[in-house]
Each structure stands twice: as C-alpha cells, then as structure tokens.
Subunit: 357 residues, 2 copies
DNA sequence: GGCACATGTGCAAACGTTCGCAGCGACTGT
DNA sequence: ACAGTCGCTGCGAACGTTTGCACATGTGCC
C-alpha cells in the first residue's frame, strides 16, 4: 500500500506538504504542487479514507437509506444520489431497511454515525430520534419534518396538470385513487386536488382510497372507480393504474374510450402497457441529485461541527423545513381521450355554471 | 461522540478490554464482558468505523460496482448484496459506473482500495488490472475470469428448460434472439442451446443476433424471427420480448397463437404485458447473496493479507474460476401455447425420427 | 539596512481503534 | 509447597492522515 510517506520521498518533500498539495492546493507553491501530484499518480497513490476520516473528523461519505433497493422508484433515486455524490467526491454508503420501521430507525442511527450525513428516502418510521437528528445533517425525501431538510416531488402541481389535461378533454367528474394514508406524497396530491377543484369550476372531484400502491390496489380500486361515475381517474402510481386498467377491462369498461387514466411516477411500466399510460412524470434521478446537493450544502464549509444546528444555508430565505420541490410534468400517452359523449349534458351544465362566474 | 474510553470508564476497565469484549468476546471473562456490553449500550456506543478500519487494516465494508443502479436487474442484485452484507455485519459502498468501461476501471480501483473486497456486476470493461485484482478479493457477477471468483445465473440450464417446454408443446423450430456479443450470459445461453439441440432430436434451433437487450432490440428482431419460420422464440430478456411481441402483432403475427415467446430474467415486466410472458426466472437477490457469501468466504478468517492469493476456500475441490451457478426455473404464463397446426407435418416427421433413436 | 510581513515548508501531535507483549493472580500436578 | 501453566487484563505502540504551530526564506517599506 502506497502512503503519503512514499509520495513525499519520491517528491522530495515532507508528508505535510503532500497532504496539503492534495487537499488544499492553494497552500502550496505551484512548482512543489506539481512535483507532488506527479509523484502521486506515478506511484498510483490513493489516500486512505479511513485514516483521513479519522483525523479530519469527516468521512467524505454520505449514507443512503431506502426502504427497498429493488423497487425501481428508489433505485432511480439512488442512482441520482450516487451520481451526484461522485460529482462531489463523496462515497455512498447504502442501506436497505426492508420496509421495516424498527430496522429503519436502527440503521439510520448507525448510518448517521459513520457518515457525514444521510439521505433518508420515504421514511416508514416516525423520526423523533432527537440525538440522531441533531448531530449530523439528514435530508429526507418525500416527507416533511420540522427538524430536517427535505425534498419531494411536486405532487400538488402534478395533480393540477393532470386535472387540467382531463378538463381540457371534457371530463368533469374525475376520481383520485389515493395511496397509503400516512404518505406525504398522497397528502400533497390531495391538497393539489382541492386546490384545483377550487380554481376550475364545474368540476367534481372524487377522492378515493387509501389503496395499496401496487397492482392489487388497482384491482380493488377498479370497482369503486367505475361505480363512482367518473369518466376519468388519476392513480397514485403506475402499478395501480395497471391493475385498474386490467380489472376495468374485465368489467367491460374500456380505456381510454370509456375511462381516461392518468397515473403518477411515469416509470417505464407506463410505456409497456396497452394502451401506454398518460402519466405525471417526476425525474427521480433529479430527486436524488437535489437531495444530495442539499446535503452537501448542509455539510458545507464547516469542517466538523460537533453539535448544534447543521449549517444553515445563509442566503436562503425559505423555511428549511419546506421541502424543495422537484417539478412534475405531464406525459400524454394513450390512456386519456376526450370524455365519452354521454357526459355532454353534465359538461353543458358545468359550462353554464362557469358562465355564472 | 462516545468512544471506547467512555465505555471503559463506565465499566471500570481499560480500553483494551472494551475493545476485546466487543470484537473478540471469547477472550474476556464473562462477568467483565457483560459489564462492558451493558455500559456500551447504556451509553449508546458505536465503534468508529474509520478508526477501527485504520488500525485493523480491514474496513468491514464491501464495495458494490454496477453499470446502472436504476436498472431493475442490478437493483435486485444490489438488494441481495446489501441484505447479505448486513447479515455479516458489513457495510456496502455502492458505486455506479454509468455503463462506461473507462469509468468502471477507475472506480473499481478506488472501490477496491477502500473496502475489503468488491462485488463487480456484469463488467463492461475487460478487467486486466493485475495489481488491482491481486490485492483484494473480487467477486464477479455474470462473467468468467481466470483471476477472480464469480457467480452467474444458470443460463444454459434455463435455455434447456425453455426448449423442453416448447418441445413439449409441439414446437420443432425454435429461434433464439441473442443479446450483446461479448456477454457471458449470452454465451452461456448459446452453449445451452447447442447442448439441448444435441440431446433432443428433430429439433431445429435458429440462433439469431446479436440484438440490443432492450425494447428496440425486440422491435428489430421481430422481422427476422418471423422470416425464420420459427414457431417459437426465446429472447435474451423481458424487454426484448416486449418489443418483439409488439412488433410481431403489427406484422399480423399473434402471440401465442402464431408464435410462442419465452423470455429471460422474469422481471416484473413479464407480468405486466398482454399476454404475460412465460419467462426463465433467476432469483437475482440470490445472485447478489451468493456473490456476497463468496466474498465473505474469501475475506475469511485471514485478518489482513497484504498480498498473495486471496484466501482459498480449502475444502472446495471445484475450480474457483468456475462460476457458482444460481439455478434457473421456468415460469409458465400466457405467451406460450401449442405449436400452430400447420407445423404438424414437421412435428410428425421429427417424431418418426425420434423413433429411430 | 533593519523591521514587519507574507509565503512556503517541516515537525509533531492528535484522531479512536486494535493487538502484541507482559504482568498478575489462580489453579494444577508432583 | 513450588514451578509451570493458563486465563484474564492493562500498557502502549502502531495504523495513515490532517493541521496548529514554528521556522526559514524572500519581499516591500520607511
């Protein structure tokens, strides 16, 4: 193993100079620096992370805690984190909590302990562990907490895009198939729903659920949606849409002729179904990237703060508890179509109401 | 931050004893050990990974290098690795090479340097870096090299299952839509193809390709497959099958009435299509787990070998260069059906030939 | 020409842990 | 009863790096 000593000997300087030449190049004369760097990569020197972490107090490693690494959603976020971390010269320590809240709490604690900060994805446990959260910066994805920074996708905005799209196609009665009750994302979307409901007149919005966020949940939702009399439906994610479309077909309801469907997430599943799904797209890689950027910013210039508030972004006037939102965009595919003609009278009624406004 | 010193003080022993009580419990008297462990988790002590890694020479961390973390295939393998590593008390340092061979080589080098060993998934680069490979154990997934341990899915066995299934349905002319030319997996499958071709008589096997291992590759393959006159086709993976089924339908060839399709991998994509795909399933989580087990075994009891062969599993008579194979199983769904009747004469012909044998 | 000052470099002390070595008591065999 | 042994524990030195401090040299100013 080649160490600073070897490089120092080769370059004819002391180990301090080597260390400085590589970590704080401006503190060293240009000629010396070049000699050092030349020697370093001639010998193939790579600094020992353990040693530097030990002395400097920061490990140049971030933790990434997800409920399920094999879930394409988290996998995409993880990729964003990994990519950005590498850009910042940070390593990624990845942990899978297996959807278990108790395990998650334990792993969070250990992850925080051996990294400089953690990106916590869609936490399943309520995080109240003050001593864990106080010590190092933690960025939470798809969740809001008073004590940490957070990022999330703009579910409210996404819902509004979806509703506007359906409205433009003439739909006036639109159902929403909700996800897990305690989910922040679901809350965001329901909030967006009421917001757009207040804005666009003559619209009847039918929030349903909670349903499980998978194909089976879609199966269960299908009956309720059909019974609701809605001509269009927005689903919590792609998988729910898949289940819903399939079961609806079994009930004799064709998509998109009889029922328009807009899903959330726009994973590649959306492109595989027949018809392909119109979906609210969020760039999950970007979600991971933004989370990492936020974390890096919180790590900031402070080399090692033993305690106290994690480095506040001083020029940012926004409440740090408000999640940074990654914008949503609507990708229109084959699962949405103009509202079926039988609903024309209803559309006419609502149009007249709109004239009143 | 709570250190061994704090625990030692609380337990009334020296720091050496604390260290031993936690890392080599058998070297310490039972009473003392209990006092130490009690003090340790009363104070919430967690050993500092950097310090222990520095002194002990092993980091208790494994590296995981994948071409694309957001690819569900690798995500599943990654989950297996993460799970098993946790079981062994190891951390996972994850790196995404973004499908770039040059980047992969560089990242491999750095990953090897700061972990105890690396699981390298489906390498895109030829790994010839002797000094990298010599120093720490590396387990390669889906690849065979002379210098490292490896695991892979039993593609040859999988092909044979697929062919037998199709043969039993009366198919006699079966195409194979191959993946990337240099791919180990593709090689395995072609080998399985010739093996089963030699075993079952009256069978015409039509290897095609290489094709890109995605939906577009399937699109391109469709025409060739239809032109080949095969009544059944085996595809390199699910996505290829999706593309193939879709384009075949456009050409007026219905699956499974006119053409039976068996895909590889059995990701959840296989369940989402219409018809759902008959697919050769490999437990990817298990692939990751086996890789990790192999790595742990190579890490073995040896605390820190500076150089030389990575600890050989002494009781294992098999050539360590032979990949450990994870078995494949066939999951039968809707994309396979009895061979269309026009091929009956051919089936009869081959049946008569079989009588000869 | 001497003084303050900036700039570049080296020395040595940490960081928290592990582990070789030695000491110390208790137990065993003769 | 005494030497030898063994089980348990503490001392202190590493591991490779960073960084405060001191020192040497060169530069500008009055």
């Amino acid at each position: 193993m080649v160490t600073v000593h070897d490089v120092a000997r080769a370059a004819g300087v002391s180990i301090s100079t080597v260390s400085r030449a590589l970590t704080a190049p401006e503190k060293v004369a240009t000629a010396t620096r070049e000699r050092v760097t030349a020697a370093a990569d001639a010998l193939g020197y790579l600094p020992n992370r353990a040693a530097s972490g030990l002395r400097a107090g920061r490990t140049r490693t971030v933790g990434l805690l997800v409920p399920d690494l094999s879930n394409p959603y988290f996998a995409a976020v993880a990729k964003g984190v990994a990519q950005r971390a590498r850009g910042h010269g940070l390593g990624v320590f990845v942990v899978d909590s297996e959807e278990d809240p108790a395990l998650e709490a334990e792993l969070l604690r250990s992850a925080v302990h051996q990294t400089d900060g953690v990106v916590l994805c869609s936490p399943r446990a309520v995080l109240e562990d003050r001593d864990v959260l106080g010590t190092k910066p933690v960025v939470v994805v798809n969740h809001r907490t008073a004590r940490t920074l957070s990022v999330g996708s703009d579910g409210a905005g996404g819902v509004q895009l979806a509703v506007e799209h359906l409205h433009a196609l003439g739909h006036r009665r639109i159902a929403y198939v909700g996800g897990p009750a305690r989910s922040w994302s679901d809350g965001q979307r329901r909030a967006g729903l009421t917001a757009v409901g207040a804005r666009l007149e003559g619209l009847e919005l039918v929030p349903l659920g909670p349903f499980r966020p998978d194909v089976d949940g879609g199966h269960e939702a299908a009956g309720v949606v059909v019974a609701s009399g809605a001509t269009a439906v927005i689903t919590f994610n792609d998988l729910v849409a898949v289940g819903l479309v399939r079961r609806a077909a079994a009930l004799g309801v064709q998509v998109p002729q009889d029922l328009s469907v807009v899903s959330f997430d726009d994973t590649f599943v959306a492109t595989l179904t027949t018809p392909p799904l119109t979906s609210v797209h969020t760039d999950l890689r970007e979600l991971g990237e933004r989370a990492t950027d936020l974390l890096v910013q919180a790590l900031g210039p402070a080399p090692a703060e033993p305690t106290g508030a994690p480095g506040q972004p001083e020029a940012d006037p926004a409440d740090p508890a408000d999640p940074v939102l990654v914008p949503a965009e609507l990708v229109v595919r084959g699962s949405t179509a103009p509202a079926p003609t039988p609903s024309v009278p209803r559309a006419a009624a609502s149009a007249s109401r709109r004239d009143d406004a």
